[in-house]
Amino acid sequence: MTGLSNTATMSFRYVEPPAGAGRDAAQGQWSEVIDWPWGARQIPLVQRLLTLENLPKDWDSYGSQPPSKAAIAMGFTLLKGLDDGGLENLTMPRINPVSGGGILLEWESGQRELELEVLSDGDVRYLKIEGGEPVQEDTVTHPMFSQMRGLLLWLMP
């Protein structure tokens, strides 16, 4: 299991009584709040990432290890970033393992496709495809989500 914030955290919040509330409600109350960092549309992909981490060695028949912890961690970072403003309408990606300890996130939007291959060290190789033809690719080392966001916006009409 990756030591990421993919588990629920619990905290307590003091809830003020509503204005004009009667005497019985005036004391306010402490409320237990559970913060789940994933939206409903992300949950199947979170489960998918956790499954990939447990692939057996040689899952690809060419001796590959399962996706590395660094790759899985970057996968979680990318998924979490999809909640960012402006990306809500983006479809969720397909997520698959890549030989050599990486993972691949793939989006399609009309004639455009975007592939983000997270390498075993957490770096990201991206590939933009338009009309079925590769049009641009490069590697982003130590990627920040803000860099990935620019790529994802390319997909949107």
């Binding site: 028949s61 590959s64 393992p97 890549v98 030989s99 691949l104 592939e115 390498l119 590769p134």
Partner: protein, 142 residues
């Protein structure tokens, strides 16, 4: 001296095989036009290793899949690899008694880019397509 050198003794017409899992979305996608399953770029990608393929004329389907009863095979010609800008380099290490060929990309580390893997996948053809359920007893099990 170049790190990698294309092996000109491998003819353009040589057919190269790659094992894939036909029921695994890591290797296969549905063709958007025909709806038929097709190898995707994941069938040829590796994040860390140089992609290895078998030489069809030097092996048999049974030998190539001897240890992999659930796998299928896709094939591409050496010409397709070279047209994608990649080199073919013979593997000097005998692997499972079979000679392998490495598909070496033009970049320094020789690892295929996503675009190169995509070009290979788009032109790959099924040599053997089969779905073997994970729970089934392998056909060659004793």
């Amino acid at each position: 001296m170049a790190l990698w050198q294309n092996d000109a003794s491998i003819s353009d017409d040589e057919i190269l095989w790659r094992r894939v899992l036909a029921d695994d979305p890591a290797h296969v996608k549905k063709d958007p036009v025909t709806g038929e399953p097709r190898p995707n770029s994941g069938a040829f990608r590796s994040s860390k290793e140089i992609t290895s393929v078998g030489i069809a004329s030097l092996t048999t389907i049974d030998d190539f899949l001897a240890s992999y009863p659930r796998h299928s095979i896709v094939g591409i010609t050496a010409r397709v690899v070279r047209e994608a800008g990649c080199m073919l380099v013979r593997d000097r290490i005998e692997n499972e008694g079979q000679e392998h060929i490495h598909i070496v990309a033009s970049r320094t580390d020789g690892i295929l880019t996503g675009g190169e893997a995509r070009k290979l996948a788009d032109r790959a053809q099924w040599v053997l397509y089969r779905i073997v359920p994970r729970t089934a007893t392998p056909p060659n099990a004793v």
